[in-house]
């Protein structure tokens, strides 16, 4: 089976249909808006940091299945993690989808490994990384993130 079909079956059937942590947070400590101006996708990520640990996190927006599933799995993965751990995971995720992570070495990727096939679909890498850029923008209180920045 082709890489993208395998990828879609893993992520779509679950996270696209039933995204985790989908919605809004009241009074988040950090939040940001992410845009992909090339396709019009946008999403909003909001989180509550408690003693440097992500206590609550939510996202919503309009995007393709890859972006939505990536956002859903991201929120599930970073919830309960410290800011530093979430940032380290972000770096690993970005490295993985651009084909720069050696998955045979110890890592925190876990279930996010379903996105590893994306480096065969260069036109769709930006869809998957938008939620992660938006998370970083939220940490940095930047307000917005863009795939074209």
């Amino acid at each position: 089976m082709a890489a993208s079909k395998a990828l879609y079956q893993e992520v779509i059937l679950d996270h696209n249909k039933k995204p985790r942590n989908y919605g809004t947070l009241e009074h988040p400590s950090h939040h940001a808006e992410g845009h992909n101006p090339l396709c019009g996708d946008h999403l909003h990520v909001a989180l509550q940091l408690q003693d440097e640990t992500i206590d609550r996190i939510a996202f919503h927006g309009e995007s393709c299945a890859i972006c939505k599933a990536s956002a859903s799995m991201m929120t599930a993965a970073v919830k309960g993690k410290t800011r530093a751990d979430a940032q380290a995971l972000t770096q690993e995720f970005l490295a993985m989808v651009t084909g720069k992570l050696d998955l045979s070495q110890p890592n925190q990727i876990g279930r996010l490994a379903v996105f590893a096939g994306l480096h065969d679909l260069p036109t769709r890498v930006k869809c998957a990384i938008l939620p992660w850029h938006t998370l970083q923008a939220a940490f940095n209180s930047q307000g917005t993130a863009s795939t074209e920045a």
Binding site: Y8, I12, E62, A65
Partner: protein, 416 residues
Amino acid sequence: MNARPAELTRATFDVERVRADFPILQIEVEGKPLVYLDNAASSQMPQPVIDRLVRYQSTEHANIHRAVHTLSERATAAYEEARVKLQRFINAPDEREVIFTSGTTEAINLVMHGYGRKFIKAGDEIILTTLEHHSNIVPWQMLAEETGAVIRVLPISDAGELCLDQFEPLFNARTRLVGMSHVSNALGSINPVKQMIAVAHRHGVPVLVDGAQAAPHMPVDVQDLDCDFYAFSGHKLCGPTGIGVLYGKAALLEKMQPFKGGGDMILSVSFEKTVYNAIPYKFEAGTPPIAAAIGLGAAVDYVSALGMDAIARHEHALLQYATGQLNDLPGLRLIGTAQHKAAVLSFTLDGIHPHDVGTLLNQEGIAVRTGHHCAQPVMTRFKVPATTRASFAFYNTMAEVDALTAGIRSVQKMFA
């Protein structure tokens, strides 16, 4: 219409024979025969055009309009012969009215710089339409920003047709130019340009027609349209990239200022005074894309031999069949249902993002465009961020329509 109207087109157009001329149509993508439905973005090149490029590079290449040696004479003759082929293709009265540009975008920018910056002042008005490609919006916004001119926009209906009744009321004493597409790239709507040009001329206003999506698909006669400018691209017309044409009425071109300065566009240069060359050379500074122009000449020979009327009929049959097939799919919404359409089907699928559709269709070997198609005002008008667009050429078949329909069904099944 569910039955394939094969007999309808076979009588006049042997599509299988035509396909044999296109090497790229024989390749496989993802292990499936290529179904190329992204012709509105760029079309494919037939062997005679490829051969012409090879012959030029192998036996004729040198710089043009320069040296007295044999190769320069050959290259110059071939380049100017291409201009005459293009002149005939659009029935321009005079070959001097055919300017080679890098494409439609540069052609429109040439009019903006050469005509707009000279004749359009603060408070003057330019009329555009909602259907325009960004290339016929952004240059005019740049001009408006620079000069203080005002852009007025003709809206479209829910079907994607221009609201003609609102066109004439847009004119006033300050209207200086109308810019409009002949065929919408995002929706396929064929606009009544001839009728609208007559309206503009009643108000003494010249009209620039963006013909990028029309010239490859129907006969174009600039004298019959009476347009003042007509722009189109080579690579959507089975020619190479990097070449296009601006047709302009000689009287207007002569009044315009050059767009780019350099060699070949001058008669004499001194540091005190430079005298510009005559049209069309005044607008062709520097060494032009000689090979690409000659290739485009071969491309218009190729499509003219097939017959633009026959091409239009075959593509219309594809459009009718594809429209029927797609309309039968539950959850599919066609965006752009104009009465007069080129073979472009823009659509959305309930609950499925166009980029997912594009990626999954590609797994079936089907190439479509997804996104906003450089026409964001159109997307905004229909309240969609993006669409999937299947755009046909004369080498597409009814079987490829079936492949598209089956591909969409399979995407829908995956997301069900």
